[in-house]
Amino acid sequence: MVERLTRLADGRPVDLEYIRVRGDRVVLHGEVSRGASDDLLSAPLPAIEQEFIMPLVETRADVPVTIDASLCVEGCTLCVDICPLDSLAISPDSGKAYMHVDECWYCGPCAARCPTGAVTVNMPYLLR
């Protein structure tokens, strides 16, 4: 993948020859462009040659427990409070419960105690 970058985060324009992403290796190559500023004119041109590693794997998992957001009561935290593996959390976006890690003993108190029946334990995929 090759993309063109035109500005640094602080707003300075840059003239990057390329950003190359190969596997989890990201390489930036180029130089900061000469702007209108005098300082920059007199300063030597900073060259950019940087390589860093960016983990690219975004693991998508089939989660063992699902929560029907339309039934989950905003403000309730019951299932989150009692899960022995602490695998449920309240989403800061929706205010509803969700499974934040695929760590589950399929023991069931989350489903048994939910006052609205929002929680379903489907079992971890690996042993389904």
Binding site: D81, E103, N122
Partner: protein, 922 residues
């Protein structure tokens, strides 16, 4: 918990203090906390989960495995049995505690409101599950046991002394001058560093359940609750305590892939049993032991594998009753699992497999070395439950040792010479800052390399190596590779990365797992013999070697900081067991074993509280949930019980049942009249749950219950009959009236009620009922009443059984014959039974029942058909015939038949015939 955090400086911490710190609020830990509080100690109960649903009992338990109930078994029988199961290597003094205090514990739990199975006479209904010993006491409402304990913890008298800190996870016990003075840990939600200064510390962290990798490959798909990663084992070891029997692993036969118990002993009384692929029973071993696991493993691997729990032969009603238990308690997702594969007990026998290895005192014998008072080798440090080395201790043993630990720790902490916080005004004792620093480093190290290998991958690899090199069969060569591998992984574990408090928890657990893996490999390497069947199967030392190894094998941190193995003598037995001769040795004699060098251990290093939880508009359900935390009274809950929304009413019933305030029974009885069916059902379920703590003399309660007998809902009517029976609050009247109910479930309850009130005539009268289930219950009920029948009662019963023996339904006929056996098999039932047994066209259930009937008949009539039945095509008929013939072995033909049966193809038939031939125990 999902937000990244920074390392807090070691000095910035929450400092707590108490007399007794209890680490782990599962079975043993909650009991320890309650007892210590009752003895006046201030208690801090720390759990990395939430005490309400933590540990092995998170969703309850369906029975007590090891109850010694007076009249059913003696403590001596039990100690002898566990001595055999553990092949002699046992400190009988510890096991004797469980044997002799278990009954009192059952009574205590019952007072708290836990329900145990009772027979028609109100006695504990202990079952024989394995061929020797009657110790299994079912818990029909066992799903609520943790709820009951949590309720006790929150009663005012206890609450004032026990502070519960959920989601706080100690990682190290702190010691000063060789004694335990506190713990260091962190809050797994906020990441806050926590230290506790305590007069005594009780470890009750359960088994090391995340040692081997389950065959599914899922890290948390373990037999044990995966929260229990061996935390306490590692903490005890690093505090200087001895551990014992770490080479004696825990391995269980389980539902394949699901990896939970199939509960053969729940299924057994219903007629389920374990078979190989050819449909043959194969387990020869009589009690739960490594020997039994070896037989199971061998059978699975043989041409006769795989193995199954056979249920498909059972009738529909039996299967639904079984589902009612297996799919609601202990591991309630069993049903989801089977359904996901399109399997059903009606069409598919349940495939079984053996589990990954673990360390567990509850099921085998590995754990922290304790004496009969739960005392470890470190003063001020106590251990109880699955963590402690008290063989085959199970749930009741966890309660008994929790109680002992609570009592002894509280005495130690508050007695003369106690080092802990002496009183309310004494400041926290000064804690060892170097150890606190080391614990801090252990906890927060992964935050320094957030991009280091993640816990899931590291743990997977570690546990796969455990499977490859530590699981049996074991050899010196494999175990040596294991040690090298775990040494190498110390460095990988030190590089593990984490960003959130939750990930820190998992990373700390990986260090515990590694420690346990290394200790288990070292102990396995040390014991150069085979013992305990599969648990310690050394392929390179296949024989048991009593001369060299009739010793406990313990492990502890030596003076150089490396693990050291030592042999401790087996103490003189208090209950002699003929198979074992205990060498006479000085109890203080300890033999150190030179071991291989130790791989180096990792060293350890600084945070901000996480964001506050979200809040939003609370509807009534939210108010209720908050209220439930504060022990609400019935009047406080009343508005919710009367809410127009059924969901709110249901939630109010849940709160009422959870907290059980005075008057809860009446309010629930009221709610049982609700217009909404789900609300009514929740109310009667609540009443059932609380029945042991409902005031049986509360006339207003009883009145409103009786009114519910007129409910249009059969579920309510059935429940009320059960309640009246269990509270012993009714004469025969309501039960007799209910015999004419339109719904057969209600009539079934009526029969049970009449049995419990001893009304043989009325029970017998129901023999003409139109429901097959009721007729079976009549036969069973008459059998239960057999011992107390008057002459007319006898006559009534005989007539009814005669009628039932000619019933068109197979199961009714079978039950009638079985009951005839209990009644002494009077004529003409004896000739009817003899005839049924001879006819191959008769269903096998009936033939088996007939054989049971003949066990009580005159040998003149019984012996001939029984001898013939010893070669019946069906194994269950042969088994019944063999059992019935045993006392008649002096009669012609009987001894020969039994002899022949001793080599039957079926393991049960073989075993019973063997007992009969030897006249042995059984």
């Amino acid at each position: 918990m999902t937000e990244p955090i920074d390392i807090p400086p070691p000095g910035q911490r929450q400092e707590l203090s108490c007399d007794v710190a209890v680490v782990g609020g599962g079975t043993a830990g909650t009991m320890a906390a309650i007892t210590a509080a009752e003895m006046g100690a201030s208690v801090l109960l720390l759990d990395k989960a939430h005490v309400r649903h933590s540990g092995a009992l998170a969703m309850g338990m369906d029975g007590v495995n090891n109850a010694v109930i007076p009249g059913k078994a003696t403590p001596e029988d039990y100690v002898a049995e566990i001595t055999r199961a553990n092949e002699g290597i046992i400190n009988q003094r510890t096991v004797y505690q469980t044997a002799s205090r278990g009954y009192e514990m059952v009574r205590r739990l019952e007072q708290y409101g836990v329900k145990f199975a009772k027979d028609a006479h109100g006695d504990y209904d202990v079952r024989r599950v394995h061929r020797s010993g009657s110790y299994v006491l079912p818990m029909p409402e066992g799903k609520d046991i943790k709820k009951v304990l949590y309720r006790v913890l929150r009663q005012r008298s206890i609450r004032e002394r026990v502070r519960i800190e959920n989601r706080v996870m100690p990682v190290r016990v702190l010691t000063a001058a060789g004694r335990a003075v506190g713990v260091a840990g962190f809050n797994t939600r906020t990441g806050e560093f926590v230290t506790v200064s305590a007069g005594a510390v009780i470890l009750a962290t359960g088994a090391c359940g995340r040692l081997g990798l389950p065959a599914s490959g899922y890290l948390y798909g373990t037999y044990e609750n995966p929260t229990n990663a061996g935390d306490g084992h590692a903490m005890a070891y690093h505090a200087g305590a001895e551990l014992s029997g770490l080479e004696c692993f825990q391995i269980n036969p389980l539902i394949k892939d699901y990896n939970g118990p199939a509960c053969a002993y729940v299924a057994n009384p219903f007629g389920g049993y374990q078979v190989n692929h050819r449909g043959e029973r194969f387990v020869d071993c009589d009690y739960w032991s490594g020997q039994m696991m070896a037989e199971v493993a061998r059978e699975i691997a043989s041409a006769r594998g795989p193995i199954y729990l056979k249920l498909t032969h059972l009738p529909e009603e039996t299967i639904s009753a079984l589902e009612g238990i297996l799919h609601t308690t202990e591991r309630p997702t069993r049903g989801t699992f089977h359904a996901g594969r399109g399997h059903d007990y009606r069409t598919h026998d349940v495939e079984m497999h053996i589990s990954e290895i673990g360390l567990c005192g509850g099921h085998s014998s590995s754990g922290v070395w304790v004496d009969e008072n739960a005392v470890t080798t470190v003063p001020g440090l106590y251990a109880a439950g699955d963590l402690a080395c008290v063989p085959h201790n199970y749930m009741i043993g966890a309660f008994v040792f929790g109680d002992l630990a609570g009592a002894n720790a509280s005495e130690f902490a508050r007695g003369p010479g106690a080092a802990g916080p002496a009183g309310p005004d004494a400041g926290p004792a000064s804690l060892p800052e170097d150890q606190i620093g080391a614990a801090h480093e252990l906890i927060y190290r992964p935050l320094r390399n957030p991009d280091g290998p993640p816990q899931a991958q590291v743990e997977y690899k570690l546990r796969r190596f455990v499977n490859d090199y530590v699981a049996p069969p074991k050899t010196q060569a494999r175990l040596a590779i294991a040690l090298e591998t775990f040494g190498r992984m110390t460095a990988e574990i030190a590089r593990m990365g984490a960003r959130t408090p939750h990930e820190l928890m998992r990373c700390a657990e990986v260090t515990f797992i590694r420690d346990c893996a290394e200790l288990a490999a070292r102990a396995s390497l040390g014991r150069t013999e085979s013992r305990w069947g599969l648990y310690h199967d050394r392929a390179d030392h296949p024989e048991r070697d009593d001369a060299e190894w009739f010793w406990h094998l313990n492990i502890r941190r030596g003076a150089d900081g490396n693990p050291e193995l030592l042999k401790r003598p087996v103490g003189t037995y208090i209950v002699p067991v003929s198979e074992f001769e205990v060498p006479v040795r000085d109890p203080g004699e300890v033999v150190l074993i030179a071991g291989p060098p130790v791989p180096g251990r990792g060293r350890l290093g600084g945070c901000r509280p996480a964001a506050a939880a979200t809040s939003a508009r609370p509807p009534q359900i939210l108010e209720l949930l908050r209220l439930a935390e504060m022990q609400p009274s019935v009047p406080q809950l009343e508005p919710y019980l009367a809410d127009s929304d059924a969901r709110v009413r249901r939630a109010a019933i849940a709160a009422l049942t959870e907290t059980a305030p005075p008057g809860a029974g009446r309010a629930l009885a009221q709610a049982a009249g609700d217009d909404n069916g789900t609300v009514r059902h929740a109310a009667v379920a609540g009443l059932r749950e609380l029945v042991a703590v409902l005031p049986a003399d509360d006339e207003a309660l009883l009145d409103s219950l009786r009114r519910r007998l007129g409910s249009p809902d059969p579920v309510v009517r059935s429940a009320v009959l059960d309640l009246l029976r269990e509270m012993r609050a009714a004469d025969a009247g309501p039960f007799a009236a209910a015999l004419s109910d339109a719904d057969h479930r209600v009539r079934l309850r009526a029969v049970s009620g009449l049995v419990s009130t001893g009304e043989a005539r009325l029970v017998a009268g129901a023999a003409a009922d139109r429901s097959r289930e009721v007729r079976v219950a009549v036969a069973d009920g008459l059998a239960a009443l057999a011992a107390e029948l008057t002459e007319t009662g006898q006559a009534n019963a005989r007539e009814a059984l005669e009628r039932l023996a000619g019933d068109p339904d197979v199961l009714v006929r079978a039950a009638a014959f079985k009951a005839a056996g209990a009644l002494g098999c009077p004529p003409p039932l004896d000739t009817l039974a003899a005839r049924a047994l001879r006819r191959a066209a008769v269903a096998w259930e009936v033939r088996a029942g007939a054989a049971q009937a003949l066990a009580a008949a005159s040998p003149a009539i019984a012996v001939r058909p029984l001898v013939a039945a010893v070669s019946d095509p069906h194994a269950n008929v042969r088994k019944a015939a063999v059992t019935a013939l045993a006392p008649m072995r002096a009669y012609p033909g009987a001894a020969e038949a039994l002899h022949a049966a001793a080599s039957d193809g079926d393991a049960d038939v073989r075993a019973y015939a063997r007992y009969a031939v030897d006249g042995g125990r059984g």
